[in-house]
């Protein structure tokens, strides 16, 4: 029960932050949320959360239903393909994350426009530069989150060892 309550409150907070940050920097928290939770929680819970948050974003941003979910599912496939070329461990993994985040923004722009208006959007240099810039910032946040999670895990395991 407490978990459901926590998830509900988290969704409200995340949505507020998503709208807030998107308005200021065109920065999406949703993709960070996806990449942070991917392979870290139960896949079924992950898919339910992504679908829920994706549908919420579609509703409030006036995207056709399923746009965000479709983009994420394509991104997960891309991540799988990428793991063949780029190792999913070590420092090189962040290059893969950077590519995935860039692809998320491009796919959202393209699929959103195709489903909504049946037209292919115009992607000019300024848009690409903006996407690259936001992707670099997002990758940086991913690195910070990964490091923090590692520190917490280390602290946790150290405590267990001392008990033994």
């Amino acid at each position: 029960m407490i978990k459901v309550l926590l998830i509900t409150i988290s969704i409200f907070v995340l949505l507020f932050l998503e709208s807030f940050l998107f308005e200021i920097f065109s920065f999406s928290l949703f993709i960070l949320f996806v990449l942070t939770l991917w392979k870290r929680i139960n896949p079924v819970v992950f898919y339910i959360l992504i679908t829920l948050f994706g549908v919420i974003l579609d509703s409030v941003n006036h995207f056709p239903l399923g746009t965000h979910v479709l983009v994420v599912s394509l991104l997960l496939m891309f991540l799988d393909l990428l793991s063949v070329v780029i190792p999913s461990e070590g420092k090189l993994q962040y290059f893969g994350i950077f590519l995935s985040i860039s692809l998320y923004y491009i796919l959202l722009l393209v699929i959103g426009s195709l489903l909504r208006d049946n037209v292919f959007p115009k992607i000019d240099v300024s848009k690409l530069v903006n996407i690259l810039f936001v992707s670099i910032i997002s990758t940086f946040f991913c690195i910070v989150i990964n490091r923090l999670l590692k520190v917490f895990r280390y602290e946790d395991s150290r405590g267990k060892l001392s008990l033994d």
Partner: protein, 273 residues
């Protein structure tokens, strides 16, 4: 030995299939019904978050442009001093009176207006406004400012709506071109003054106008007015720019410079008939 079917290894593929089904579902009438409760619950948070973000963004832009503001402030001080010397206060009052008089005659008299604030304009050729179904907004409603056409409602939720601007690539209208000497506030019969008809198409960055008569005497600066059955009223779109001059062509084309910079508008009006 037969391999056991592992659901986890196919989870991504299943999720992709599910997402495609969801998208297809979204294209039917059921899509709006699914979105409705989410929109009802989460739209206020989104609008609040966007407004707070906009406030911070204004401060951010103000800080970035601080040096230009200082220069502008100094220029204005000089300007004020000069105006005081010239005793132009009366002239300013008179100009204000004239512009107010002009604005009052600009408004389309028929129908009811609903005022709306722009939440965000970062989407591809469209803007979000802060009113929706609750205020009676419907898809196809026209959004105007004075007599100027701003866009058409293309998607409505309970508390917000999406306005498709003329810049949007899926936006196209029939238009007429009038000489720039015409006073749109005085002239009621504009048919005799039409230089040419044409079609405008959004191109993300600008508005393209095509199919103007090759023998028509259209020139840069002429007024472009929308006369389309979907819009109803004749509304101003902008002024003509960069008219092509190719004698081999069967028609003339050019660009339309909108009256307003869509990124700088704060309030708009929805015309309900």
């Amino acid at each position: 030995m037969r391999k056991k079917f592992d659901l986890k290894s196919y989870s991504k593929l299943l999720f992709l299939i599910f997402s495609i089904v969801l998208v297809l579902l979204g294209q039917t009438a059921l899509g709006d019904r699914i979105k409705y409760p989410f929109s009802y619950i989460f739209s206020p948070i989104h609008v609040y978050g966007s407004n707070v973000g906009k406030g911070v963004n204004n401060w951010k832009e103000a800080l970035i442009d601080a040096s230009s503001y200082i220069k502008e402030f100094n220029d204005m001080k000089e300007e004020i001093a000069r105006l005081k010397v010239e005793n132009s206060e009366k002239l300013l009052d008179y100009n204000e009176y004239l512009s107010l008089k002009e604005q009052s005659t600009f408004v389309v008299n028929e129908g009811k207006y609903i005022q709306a604030k722009i939440i965000s304009n970062n989407m591809e050729g469209s803007i979000l406004i802060n009113i929706g179904k609750e205020n009676g907004v419907e898809i196809g409603d026209i959004v105007i400012l004075g007599r100027v056409y701003i866009g058409m409602i293309s998607d409505v939720s309970l508390y917000s709506s999406r306005v498709r601007l003329p810049l949007n690539p899926s936006s196209s209208f029939e238009v007429i071109v009038l000489p720039n000497s015409v006073d749109l506030n005085k002239e009621n019969r504009i048919d005799s003054m039409v230089k040419s008809t044409g079609v405008v198409i959004g191109k993300s960055d600008n508005i393209l106008i095509e199919n103007m008569g090759i023998n028509s005497e259209v020139k840069d600066g002429d007024f472009v007015l929308i006369r389309d059955s979907r819009v109803g009223d004749i509304l101003v779109l902008g002024t003509l720019l960069g008219v092509s001059n190719n004698p081999a062509s069967t028609n003339k084309s050019g660009f339309v410079s909108p009256i307003f910079d869509y990124g700088n508008i704060l309030n708009v009006y929805i015309l309900k008939k």
